[in-house]
Amino acid sequence: MYRSFPFYISGWWDADALHSVWGWNVVARPTPECSMSVLVVDADTIQRDSLRAILGEQYRLTFVAGLSEALRMVREHRPDLLVSEVDLSDGTGLELCARIRELPGGRRLPIMLVTHRSSTADKVAGFQAGADDYVVKPVDTRLFSVRLRLLFRLKGIERPRDLQAPR
């Protein structure tokens, strides 16, 4: 019926709210990237600087060092994207993924793990923990911001049934 309902939905939590109000599965539309907020979880200042250089002009970046701080930021500020290292000061990126996925609406947050760990086992563990993308450092400076945008779009078209299915 209302397949082309002209709604503009700006982020993953809004989509969830509508979901409950209308009883429909509504998928978020990508917001313009200049207004997109990215939470970066990495304790290493050199890595932070390099990410700031790559992404700083296109995204609103917030940096935190550890898991608990990241969880608090996700709960309180609802970033549009999350980029996390696997080795964190007070836990792992995998743990962070799993904890976020348990939050209400947390399945909709696009999560990218960016790490030096490049073994197949690490990559598989990343996806199994609930990450949407896994990038090995050093990152390709030209493609990294593009990849983030692709991930955001990808998450926007992901079917709600896939999001609800247990991983």
């Binding site: 019926m1 209302y2 397949r3 082309s4 309902f5 709604f7 503009y8 939905i9 979901h19 009883g23 429909w24 599965n25 509504v26 998928v27 539309r29 990508p30 490049s118 197949t120 990559k123 598989v124 996806f127 199994q128 949407d132 993308d133 896994y134 990038v135 090995v136 050093p138 990152v139 390709d140 030209r142 493609l143 593009v146 990849r147 945008r149 692709l150 991930l151 779009r153 990808l154 926007g156 078209i157 992901e158 079917r159 709600p160 049934r161 609800q164």
Partner: protein, 173 residues
């Protein structure tokens, strides 16, 4: 200042030609029947060697062991799906420019788009024609890294029809 000029005698030229001819293709699909079907199509031309894996994780392990020149991957597989395999391969600069084809029974627009946004070069739907697979294989093998980067950049910036999907099925709780 004398520059080193590569010397190519008949023997090395032959060796290079042989390695050009025998490219390696990795097939990842959980159905042994489909794997054999793809294998028969791919090897028909005599231009490719084939290695196979039967789920996403085994596929990734095979990928890093065998360093294939091209990967043909299914989407719905146990342990890890095809989209994740594609993102894994593209996410590592060491393997980011491997030609990748998804060959899947999922044939809705959203499936194609998910594949392309994950970074696959071509999305082919099952059932497929052998000639279409051969042509696709040929095409992806000829994509240069520069072309691939352009395609990815275009995908990230272009508008597509999936701004909003309203699915009026009841959400399964």
């Amino acid at each position: 200042m004398a520059e080193a000029v590569p010397v190519m005698n008949a023997q090395t030229a032959d060796a290079q030609k042989a390695s050009d001819v025998q490219k390696k293709v990795l097939i990842i699909d959980d159905s042994p029947m489909i794997v054999e079907l793809i294998r028969s199509v791919v090897t028909m031309t005599g231009a490719y060697d084939v290695v196979v894996a039967y789920d996403g994780v085994a596929g990734l392990e095979k990928f890093y062991q065998e360093q294939p020149d091209c990967v043909i991957v299914d989407v719905k597989m146990p342990r890890m799906d095809g989209y994740q395999v594609v993102r894994c391969i593209r996410g590592d600069t060491a393997s980011a420019h491997t030609p990748l084809i998804i060959l899947s029974a999922l044939n809705e627009e959203v499936d194609h788009l998910t594949g392309l946004l994950s970074g696959v070069d071509e999305y082919l739907a099952k059932p497929f024609k052998p000639s279409a697979l051969c042509a696709t294989l040929e095409r992806v093998m000829n994509i240069t890294p520069e072309e691939r980067v352009h395609r990815i950049e275009n995908l990230a910036t272009s508008d597509f029809d999936y701004d909003l999907v309203v699915d009026d099925e009841e959400p399964s709780k």
